[in-house]
Symmetry: C2
Subunit: 217 residues, 2 copies
DNA sequence: GAATAATCAGAATTAGAACTCTTAATCTGA
DNA sequence: TCAGATTAAGAGTTCTAATTCTGATTATTC
């Protein structure tokens, strides 16, 4: 992306991004046509290509903006002690609530990003790192809130897996809306939070005691 | 898809499907080129189009084959009492093991199906129904294996949500392989099973007791 | 072993969307 | 105000991959 020197082009770039975000509610990156984008912004192909190397660069930039903003938001939240520390459940509830609202606000880009074709270049990587950032911040909080017996045995592994399930489930909601619960349903945060809190709390012996080896299917 | 009258074309159709499955390990439906497919099967464009209306119909057929086969497999498994009934954990373990191995076997098509662009036609629907079928079969088993206090309060809802998390997590693994756990990791089934069993067992009062309302993020 | 139907071959066509390129307009600084 | 730099217009080009179409080839039937 070539940086703009003049105000008009700076404005135009913003318009491109905003209109793209709007369009992404209906289509994904493949379906996002540069022609359409230019029409919608009352602009032209030439203007677009004098700013962006190509469509891919534009899309990368769009993703990057979101990732950057989100990362800052996360950092800020933790820096200002916004995270509740009274119990594991309320901490997890806070995490989940924040995550869900992020998914709701950015549904279009997220869906498009998930679908973006990646032959070699793993275009989801910036998004993935976001989950990593979240997990890294949350981990010490969670460990502190966990009773010592639960914390002792592989809690960190369970936490990481819990995060993976959390974001996996939300990605899936945004991607294919499988039902019965959708990203916009009011019960969804509660279900998610209680489920992963439950899992994090569980001790490995719970599982061992209860799961005798079953025959292969 | 026009049904084949002669043996040679029946064979060819099978070859098309098999080769497509092989190709889908590397590319998705967009990247699956008919030209390539025909080369790989030592066949020709003409042969392909004398069988299939167009590429989309071919892809639909491919998906349908998988969905049909899977549905039958599920029905058969339950019909022959393959499901363990000694404990919730072993039943869930069985479900998860079966599901994971299905994902491992069919990773390519699944990934491609997840990514398939759907403007209006929701091409994932047949796959989604599969989850529904699974859940419908499993539900009564689970209810029977649940202690009465857990079963009483919204257990059905929790079961459905657990299934949604299970398949959401696996879809996500296949789609973007987020880590730390992958669909091929040997620990994955255990983690998945213990996590959803835990959640299904939990009573709503667990959650209520433990989650005081936290301030919005 | 023709006659007819089914299938295959594959060059040529089409279509859609990204991108280029040249000319025109607009801005900026002196 | 005007010369040079930046930006915008948008018709035209290019590229890619699906699809069409017509003449062979191969199977089936009587």
């Amino acid at each position: 992306m070539r940086p703009a020197q003049q105000l008009r082009s700076r404005k135009l770039i913003v318009e491109f991004f905003n209109e793209a975000l709007a369009l992404l509610k209906d289509v994904d990156f493949d379906g996002l046509s540069i022609d359409t984008l230019c029409e919608r912004t009352s602009s032209t192909i030439g203007a677009f290509y004098s700013r962006f190397e190509n469509k891919e660069a534009f899309v990368d930039a769009l993703q990057l903006i979101l990732v950057r903003a989100t990362r800052q938001r996360i950092e800020a939240d933790y820096a200002t002690n916004a995270a509740p520390t009274d119990s594991l459940e309320s901490f997890i509830g806070w995490i989940v609530k924040g995550a869900i609202s992020w998914y709701r606000r950015n549904e279009g880009v997220i869906r498009a990003s998930l679908r973006r074709t990646n032959k070699e270049a793993d275009t989801w990587i910036p998004m993935r790192d976001l989950v990593g950032v979240q997990a890294a911040h949350a981990l010490p909080y969670i460990m502190r809130l966990l009773p010592s017996d639960a914390a002792a045995n592989g809690a960190e592994e369970r936490v990481r897996f819990a995060f993976q399930m959390l974001f996996g489930t939300m990605n899936n909601m945004v991607l294919i809306n499988p039902g019965p619960f959708g990203i916009h349903d009011p019960e969804t945060p509660r279900m998610l939070a209680s489920s992963i809190a439950q899992f994090i709390r569980s001790t490995p012996s719970d599982a061992k005691r209860r799961v005798p080896p079953s025959r292969a299917r």
